[in-house]
Amino acid sequence: MILKQKPFSTGLMGHVIAHEPSTEATRQMVAVMVEAGATIVEIQIPFSEPAADGPVFLAANHRALARGVTYQSSLDLIQELVKAHGDQCDFVVMTYLNIPYQRGYREFAQELKKSGVVGTIIPDLPLEFSQTYEAALQGEGLFNIRLVAPHGDWARTDRVLSGARELVYVVARKGVTGSPSAFNQDLNQMLDQVRRKTDCPLAVGFGVKSGDDIRKLAGHADYVVVGTASLEAWMAGGEAAFRALWKDLGSAARESVTGLSPEF
C-alpha cells in the first residue's frame, strides 16, 4: 500500500488546480482542506483541452494557462505543498494524457516521484491504452488511479478493476465535472457492485457539493472527491466560504462510515 491513511470514516479527497485562481489561493485552499480532514489532495496540472471537465474547471484551466502557469510551475507548487502537508495527507496529480506524453512517461514519473506525489488520475486514458503509462509510474513506485463510470457495461468494468491498484475512482454519473449528481439508491447499488469486484477503496467524484451528499454515500463510498463545488465556494466567497464548506464536509465525513468491509 502506498496511500498513507486508510479511512475508517469516509475519507475526504480535495481537488485544486495548480495556481488557480492564484498561487496563494491554492496554498490556502490546500491548507484548509487538510485542516478539515482531507487525506488525499488531487492537484490538477492545467491543460488546454480538458475534455472531461465542465464549464467551471474548463474556464479555470484556460485562465491558469493564460496567466502563464506551466507544467514546471505546477510541479514546483506541488513539491512545496507536499513538503508542507505531506505528513498529513497524500498528493496525487490529475491531468490529461498529453501532459505526461510530452514529458515522456518515464521522465514524468520520475519528476512526480521527486515532487513527492504518490499517483495520478488521467481522465482521458482508457484501460486499452494505459499499459505503458501505468508501467512507467509503477517503475517509480507510483500508481495510476483507474476510473469506473456508470455506463452499464459491467464486463468492461471488470477489466478495468482487475488491474486496479490502491484506489478506484468511481464517476458518480454520466457527463463531465461540475453538474449536480443525484446521490441515490442506484449509485449506492453500483458502488456495492464495484466493491464486490475489487479490494481497492472507492473514491466517488463528480458532483459532490455538501455534507448531505456525503451522508447519502455513507456505507458505500470510502472517499468522496470535492472538486467543482470547492472551487466555486472560493470564487464566490473567498476563504471564508471555502472554510465553511470544508467544515461542513469534514464533519459529515467524520460522521459517515465507509463501505469497506470490517476486515479491511
Binding site: 475534455a51 490529461y96 482521458d124 463510470a149 464517476v171 454520466k174
Partner: protein, 431 residues
C-alpha cells in the same frame, strides 16, 4: 461496388501506424465500442453502401461531376486542370456525404438525436439538414469565433430545426466545439449519436468518416478514366481535419503513379499561432488530444496553440491520424497555401472559370496553381501533359462576409449599413 476498405483499416486498437487510438473518458468507452462494432459491420455490408449511395444520389445529386478547367489550363503550357465538384452537393460541400452515412448508422443504432461540432458551419448545416430529413433532433456546437464568421450558416441551421450552441471556451473555434460536443456526448450517448465531421477524433471516427468519404475518390477515378483521358498525375485537396482529402485520395491509393498532395492552411505565415499547417510547417508534434494521437500544433508542454486561417474549416489544431500516417509512409505529400495565395486563387477561379469555391477548397486550388506555375509538376509519362485533379470540397457562397471583407468591397458595406438602418427604423417604430 463497395469501397476498398482494406487500404485504410486500422489495427485493433484503432491505430494507423503510430497514429490513432481512442482517448476518451471511461464513461464514453462502451459507446465507442458500440460505434466501432456498428461501423465495422456496415463497412462489410454491401446493402449499407447501396442504401448510402441511393440516398446520396436522390438527395444530394451524386455523382458530382469532374469539370475540366479549360481557361485555367490555357494559362500554362502542358498542364490540364480538373475539378472534382463536391461543391455541387446538397448543402454545398463534401460534408453531406459523411453526414448521410452516419445518419443512416445512427438510425440503425436506434439513436434519436445527433450532435455535431462545426467550424466553417458546413458540417453543421449538413448535420441539421440530414437531421431534418431523417427526423432526428440535432444540437450543433460551434466556436463563438466561427459563429461570428459564419453567421449565415448559423441562421440556416436554426431554421432547419437544429439547436446551435456557441462555444465560448478556449480559442472559441473548431477544437473547442469538438470538446463541447464530447462533453454533451458523455452525458447523452444513450440516445445520442456524435456525428463527428471529419476524419479525426477517437477511433472509429477517422476510419468511418474516411470510408464514407471515399465515395468521392471512387467516383473521381472512374470519371477520370472515362472522360478525363486517364489517371491524373496529381491530386490536390485541402486538409482541415482531413476528410475531403482522404475521400478523394482513396480513389488513387493503389495507383502509385498518382501523386497525392494535401494542402494545409499557412494563414498569415509560419509564426506559431498564425497558421494551421501541422505537417507542412514541420511544427506539428506528436500529441494526444481531442480523443486521438496524432500531430498537433502545441507547445513543448503539450498545450494546444491558437491557429489561424482565413478559412474557418481549416483552422484546426490537429490532423487526421490517417493523413499523418499516409504522410509518414510517403504515400501523400503535404504542402500549404497562405491566406493571400488563397484570396488570389479565389479571384482567378471566379474570373476565369466562373466557379466560386469555398475558401477551404481554394487552398487546394492555390497550391496547385502555384506548383504548376513554378513548373514543379511532371507528368508520369514524359512528354504528356500534366493532369491535375483538384478536389473542390465546397462552394463559397457561405464565405460572402469573409470575402467581401478581404476585397474591402465598399458597396457591400453600404448595403449592410442600409439594412441596419432599416432594421433600426422598424424597431423604433414598434417601440
Amino acid at each position: 461496388m463497395m469501397p476498398p476498405v482494406k487500404v485504410l483499416t486500422p489495427d485493433d486498437r484503432g491505430y494507423f501506424g503510430r497514429f490513432g487510438g481512442t482517448y476518451v473518458a471511461e464513461i464514453l468507452m462502451p459507446a465507442m465500442t458500440e460505434l466501432t462494432r456498428a461501423a465495422t459491420q456496415v463497412m462489410h455490408d454491401p446493402t449499407f453502401w447501396d442504401e448510402y449511395l441511393q440516398e446520396l444520389r436522390e438527395f444530394s445529386g451524386r455523382p458530382t461531376p469532374i469539370t475540366p478547367l479549360k481557361r485555367l489550363s490555357g494559362l500554362m503550357e502542358g498542364v490540364q486542370f480538373f475539378l472534382k465538384r463536391e461543391d455541387l452537393n446538397q448543402t454545398g460541400a463534401h460534408k453531406i456525404n459523411n453526414v448521410i452515412g452516419q445518419g443512416l448508422l445512427a438510425k440503425r443504432l436506434g439513436k434519436t438525436r445527433v450532435i455535431a461540432e462545426t467550424g466553417a458551419g458546413q458540417h453543421g448545416i449538413a448535420t441539421a439538414t440530414m437531421a431534418a430529413r431523417f427526423g432526428l433532433k440535432a444540437t450543433i456546437y460551434m466556436g463563438a469565433e466561427d459563429v461570428e464568421r459564419q453567421r449565415p450558416n448559423v441562421f440556416w441551421m436554426e431554421k432547419l430545426g437544429a439547436q446551435v450552441v456557441s462555444v465560448e471556451d478556449g480559442a472559441r473555434t473548431l477544437k473547442d466545439a469538438i470538446n463541447a460536443a464530447m462533453r454533451d456526448w458523455s452525458s447523452h450517448f444513450e440516445d445520442t449519436h456524435y456525428l463527428l465531421g471529419t476524419a479525426c477524433g477517437p477511433h472509429p471516427f477517422p476510419m468511418l468518416v474516411a470510408w464514407l468519404q471515399s465515395v468521392t475518390g471512387l467516383e473521381a477515378r472512374e470519371q477520370m478514366m472515362a472522360h478525363g483521358g486517364g489517371l491524373p498525375d496529381y491530386v490536390y485537396a485541402c486538409v482541415g481535419g482531413g476528410s475531403n482529402a482522404l475521400g478523394i485520395f482513396q480513389g488513387f491509393l493503389n495507383d502509385p503513379e498518382v501523386k497525392l498532395i494535401g494542402v494545409e492552411a499557412q494563414g498569415k505565415g509560419m509564426a506559431p499561432g498564425q497558421h494551421a499547417a501541422r505537417l507542412a510547417s514541420g511544427q506539428g508534434t506528436m500529441g494526444i488530444a481531442q480523443g486521438y494521437e496524432s500531430l498537433f500544433l502545441q507547445t513543448k508542454d503539450g498545450q494546444m496553440l491558437d491557429t489561424h486561417s482565413v478559412a474557418a474549416g481549416l483552422d484546426y489544431v490537429g490532423v487526421s491520424p490517417i493523413i499523418a500516417y499516409l504522410a509518414e509512409t510517403g504515400r501523400i505529400q503535404v504542402t500549404g497555401a497562405t491566406d493571400a495565395e488563397v484570396i488570389a486563387a479565389h479571384r482567378v477561379m471566379m474570373a476565369k472559370e466562373g466557379i466560386i469555391g469555398a475558401l477551404e477548397s481554394t487552398h487546394a486550388v492555390a497550391a496547385a496553381l502555384r506548383d504548376a506555375r513554378q513548373l514543379m509538376l511532371e507528368p508520369s509519362e514524359p512528354g504528356r501533359e500534366v493532369k491535375i485533379l483538384i478536389n473542390l470540397s465546397g462552394r463559397g457562397d457561405k464565405d460572402i462576409f469573409t470575402i467581401a471583407e478581404a476585397f474591402e468591397d465598399p458597396s457591400w458595406q453600404q448595403f449592410l449599413e442600409h439594412k441596419v438602418a432599416r432594421y433600426r427604423l422598424k424597431r423604433d417604430k414598434k417601440s
